[in-house]
């Protein structure tokens, strides 16, 4: 079973393990625009780039491999010109948004395991099948670099691809807080809310993320 984490000093809470396992199941399955094999390749390129390694394999276009590697290792370096360049090279907005979802969550899982002293989780075997093609037809370009449904907001950032938006929320709750818990400034689990926000802010500072 994925995320057995047998090397850990003590068990970790069930909802966090369940969230990680759920995401690994999703990673292996066909998405809206990428096959399961391609999704795993995106994650693999991002993981390798974080270790300073470049992968050479042909499950992805060179453009997709580059975007996954850049977003995996140097997210703060991404500029609108990069997104335009990748789009002009054939990476359509829905494929780019799904790539963001896959790379961002697998980067997150890797960091959680690294923090807890576990080895990186091996990637799952891909599930056969074709991408669903499901995208939000009412998404529009507004103030950000990708189309979104409704206003320009971090909670709708991946809304062009509903399955990726749902996956983001499914990860966000157990790793940090649900949207309902976020409304509570005194929410406490192992850390109180202020301690959580100190960790969030420092992580964002090291990642040079202004938002």
């Amino acid at each position: 079973m994925a995320f057995a984490m047998l090397s850990l000093e003590q068990p970790i809470r069930d909802d966090l393990v369940a969230g990680l396992r759920r995401d690994w199941v999703r990673l292996a399955e066909p998405g809206a625009t990428w096959t399961g094999m391609q999704r795993i390749s995106l994650a693999a390129h991002a993981r390798a780039a974080r270790s300073g390694v470049s992968l050479t394999e042909d499950a992805l276009s060179a453009t997709a491999a580059e975007a996954a590697a850049v977003l995996g290792a140097r997210p703060a370096s991404v500029r609108v010109g990069d997104v335009q360049k990748w789009t002009e090279a054939g990476l359509d907005p829905q494929s780019y948004v799904e790539l963001i979802g896959v790379v961002s969550r697998t980067s997150a899982a890797d960091s959680i395991l690294r923090g807890l002293g576990a080895e990186p989780e091996p990637f799952p075997a891909p599930v056969d099948g074709s991408p669903s093609g499901e995208v939000a037809s009412d998404a529009r370009y507004r103030r950000a670099w990708v189309p979104m449904v409704g206003g320009t907001s971090i909670v709708s950032a991946l809304s062009l691809v509903p399955s990726e938006m749902n996956a983001m929320f499914d990860f966000h709750g157990p790793a940090y807080l649900t949207m309902e818990q976020m409304a509570d400034p005194v929410f406490t689990r192992g850390l109180d809310r202020a301690q959580m926000e100190l960790v969030a802010a420092r992580t964002s500072a090291l990642n040079e993320c202004f938002y």
């Binding site: 000093e9 966090l16 977003l71 703060a76 991404v78 500029r79 609108v80 997104v83 780019y96 948004v97 963001i100 979802g101 961002s104 969550r105 980067s107 997150a108 899982a109 960091s111 959680i112 690294r114 923090g115 807890l116 002293g117 103030r143 950000a144 670099w145 990708v146 971090i154 950032a157 991946l158 983001m168 990860f171 966000h172 790793a175 940090y176 976020m182 400034p185 689990r189 192992g190 850390l191 109180d192 809310r193 202020a194 301690q195 959580m196 926000e197 100190l198 960790v199 969030a200 802010a201 420092r202 992580t203 964002s204 500072a205 090291l206 990642n207 040079e208 993320c209 202004f210 938002y211």
Partner: protein, 120 residues
């Protein structure tokens, strides 16, 4: 970062604690939050340290706040590894209203240098 510095300020106020926000960008500053130094050391190790440095930081955090808190800290780091990538890759702007209300904090912490998607 701006969003979570605001949330840090709000939660500290609601909890009756104190914090020096400058500690988020300047490691010479004590955050003045219980376990704050151990939490910051853990974040720094996970994002940029070796396995042994992470182990040392994790042990110190566990001694200071316990295992459950250490797991929470790892989860929050992971979540913001995700959210930072989403914000940066989608060009998520910080709105003009938030820039105004957070202007003093942005200036004091020198955050403008991280602003890759400033709107006109």
């Amino acid at each position: 970062m701006v969003s979570h510095l605001e949330m840090l300020s709000s939660s500290v106020h609601a909890l009756g604690h104190t914090v020096d926000l400058l500690a988020v960008t300047d490691r010479n500053v004590d955050p003045r939050l219980h376990g704050g130094i151990e939490l910051l050391n853990f974040v720094d190790a996970v994002l940029g340290g070796s396995a042994s440095e992470i182990s040392v930081a994790r042990s110190a955090l566990r001694s200071a706040l316990g295992w459950e808190a250490t797991v929470d800290a790892a989860g929050v780091i992971g979540n913001f590894e995700m959210m930072n990538r989403i914000a940066d890759a989608t060009g998520m702007p910080v709105g003009k209203g938030r820039r105004r209300t957070s202007a003093d904090m942005i200036d004091r912490l020198g955050l403008a240098r991280f602003d890759h998607v400033a709107e006109d």
